[in-house]
Symmetry: C2
């Protein structure tokens, strides 16, 4: 079965939110019930309206089996280089460990290259040693520490 990667459409949104909710970090904070929380549709609209944001759907045999988000960021560093950023990578639970992740990341990197990015960056939870090995196998360098500051009280 071939994995088909493409820009997500609004009709993909329920399946993509379900992938976000079906995740060790997502069960607490996401809600895939229908109709979708309006926060999701608003975010989808914001991404769709911005040419430097892309929500990607990975489709296999008519089913949405994976997702990721790409951001293309202008910046002054490296004499004004654009950088790509990958966020919110998710793969259906029953399909993990079959190489889909590698295919998705390679596709995302190629997309960043097409967009003229000089580098691509992402962060991965500190305790996900398997994910770290996965990225290092794909040639990524773990050179940075990632910091977060929550601005709301509930988490």
């Amino acid at each position: 079965m071939t994995l088909h990667l493409r820009q997500a459409t609004i009709t993909d949104l329920p399946a993509i939110v379900a992938l976000l909710a079906d995740d060790v970090n997502g069960t607490q904070r996401e809600d895939a019930s229908l109709p979708l929380d309006p926060g999701y549709t608003a975010a989808f609209a914001a991404i769709a309206a911005d040419p430097d944001q892309e929500l990607i759907a990975a489709e296999q045999d008519g089913r949405i089996v994976g997702t990721l988000q790409l951001s293309f960021l202008p910046g002054l560093s490296f004499k004004g280089a654009w950088r790509g950023q990958i966020e919110a990578v998710r793969i259906a639970g029953d399909l993990r460990g079959q190489g889909l992740g590698g295919e998705m990341i390679r596709w995302a990197v190629e997309r960043c290259r097409q967009r003229g990015c000089r580098m691509v960056q992402l962060t991965s939870k500190t305790n996900r040693a398997d994910a770290h090995r996965f990225y290092e196998k794909l040639g990524w360098k773990k050179t940075h520490a990632g910091f977060k500051l929550q601005l709301t009280e509930d988490r």
Copy 2:
């Protein structure tokens, strides 16, 4: 002397590029000579044209003493939360260790809050233990590992 933080203008650009070049990581890859490399002016234009990108100048007594870039990123996670991202934080070499960094980061976080972000994120080189302590003192959590993939051959 008061630190004044504001959106950078094109006339600030040479001073900001000089701050990027005056950095242990920047000397190799930046060029602050005038006229500026057109990559810098193109990047400034891209940032200025995007309402979700802000290049910030920190001014003290008429001198540009610091800079950072803010990106406001839409995303589906956390029911469609916006996140702020801080990149390219630099402070003039002769003014480091005087609390300017803390003032700049607190200002940036407040700006993200105004923009409705639910969280703010940044990465810092793995070997910059002093910077890591600085962010942790400000309440940030080092929860992630940051990976980069270079897409060009020269670095």
